[in-house]
């Protein structure tokens, strides 16, 4: 008898976390990228406090979006090269749920450190302290959507040489709503207004992505491997 589904998902999640810990350098790169992109703006524009406060929400969200893309490119490529993707596709468990577990592991290792780092960068960009909680909440709701969308893109482009650029072209347009609502929520909180509206919209995007993206990613993987 195959093990219960939760057991299998836990196994996969733990394996991916273990792999990520053994390859922590790969995990740190997107995080450094996030920090550097966010600090480039004050250097390029102006370190004036008022101007930075104005653009901080947008800068943080664009940096988070780009850094999540950078991390996603490798989501399936290594598995394709060592053949473990074939084994995953032939496992007697439902593929969309396995992919959901993989994406969750990826999110835990790439986005959670980013969410933890974000307040620090936000302070550096003079974002008012009252917006920090909203920023983290919005990132916590928005980054899983980016990971899930990215999983579809990564599944479609994994077999291509230099698929990273194509991945960006595929995923960035789809990520626009996340960017708009995330930056809007942060902006509202910075002005002392109620950010609930965009946060609810982000949450609904998350549920939409959670329910549909794994199925799409599974179909994309089967096509890409054929």
């Amino acid at each position: 008898m195959p093990p219960e589904l939760p057991t299998a998902l836990r196994l996969l999640l733990l394996r991916d976390l273990r792999l990520a810990v053994r390859r922590w350098g790969q995990m740190a790169t997107p995080l450094m990228f996030f920090a550097i992109v966010a600090t480039l703006f004050p250097l390029a524009l102006s370190p004036a406090m008022l101007q930075l406060r104005e653009i901080a929400p947008g800068v943080l969200w664009v940096a988070a979006l780009l850094s999540s893309l950078l991390a996603l490119d490798a989501l399936f490529r290594a598995d394709l090269e060592d053949g473990s993707l074939e084994q995953l596709l032939l496992s007697p468990q439902p593929l969309p749920l396995l992919l959901l577990a993989r994406t969750a592991a990826h999110w835990l290792m790439s986005a959670v450190p980013l969410i933890a780092l974000a307040p620090l960068l936000a302070v550096a960009l003079h974002l008012p302290a009252q917006a920090l909680v909203t920023l983290m909440l919005a990132l916590a709701l928005g980054t899983p959507v980016l990971s899930l969308l990215g999983a579809i893109g990564a599944a479609l482009t994994m077999g291509l040489h230099r698929g990273g650029a194509l991945l960006a072209l595929l995923v960035l347009p789809l990520a626009v709503p996340v960017l708009i609502f995330g930056a809007r929520a942060t902006d509202l909180a910075a002005r002392g207004e109620d950010p609930a509206g965009p946060l609810f919209l982000l949450a609904s995007l998350l549920f939409l992505a959670l329910s549909l993206a794994p199925i799409a990613a599974a179909a994309a993987l089967r096509v890409s491997l054929d």
Binding site: R15, P92, D226
Partner: protein, 211 residues
């Protein structure tokens, strides 16, 4: 004969083209209990393509693959539980140890026993490297770890693509022995290889050069 058809894997009327070259057409294969089917042919004859079609990783241009008389796409989970696949690539994670790799792959299939995995590695002469990351193993050792995964999968049907690649004479004859034992226990094997090692006899051959 009818019962055997129902019990195993059956491919009907397979056809595959690569560009304007036909690799095979009207190909019928039946794999049942205790039988070894040998897919043979020179390099580029389509052995790997056929194997990938048989396990459902790729689709043929025409024809269908049936498991217990039902199309494999319709019974995917049941079918996947019944097969073990060893492809060109070993399917091992480089940063995990040999033992961790085995426990993970088999853990998705059935409640995993680390003791059984360690025993299979020991049997294959991999005792000393069981706790080393696969990254540091030689190509032949990786192949043997990958074979140990097949061996401990508990699947009745093994689909092996070039299982003897990168192996020395001793390992080849060890694996040939394990294959014979699997057949004797009533399991079945589809094996793609240029030729079989001594000690193994095929029950049916699928020559791909003729097409």
């Amino acid at each position: 004969m009818t019962e055997r058809l129902v019990e195993g894997l059956e491919a009907r009327n397979l056809q595959l083209w690569r560009g304007d070259r036909c690799l095979f057409r009207q190909l019928d294969i039946v794999v049942g209990g205790g039988r070894l089917v040998h897919v043979q042919g020179r390099n580029g004859a389509g052995k790997t393509s056929l194997m990938r079609i048989l396990c459902g990783l790729a689709l043929p241009d025409a024809g269908e693959v049936l498991w217990r008389s039902r199309r494999i796409e319709r019974v995917r989970e049941e079918f996947h539980l019944a097969i073990a696949w060893l492809g060109h690539r070993d399917g091992l994670k480089q940063d995990l140890t040999a033992l961790e790799n085995l426990c993970f792959s088999n853990g998705l299939r059935r409640t995993c026993a680390a003791r059984q995995a360690r025993a299979a590695l020991g049997e294959g002469g991999l005792d000393a490297v069981a706790d080393l990351p696969v990254r540091v193993l030689s190509a032949g050792q990786r192949r043997r770890v990958a074979f140990a995964r097949v061996q401990t999968s508990g699947a009745p049907l093994w689909l092996l693509d070039e299982p003897f690649a990168n192996l020395d004479a001793a390992s080849t004859s060890f694996i040939a022995g394990r294959l014979s034992a699997h057949l004797a226990e009533g399991g079945s094997i589809v094996l793609a290889a240029h030729r079989l090692p001594s000690g193994l006899t095929e029950h049916a051959a699928v020559p791909l050069d003729a097409a």
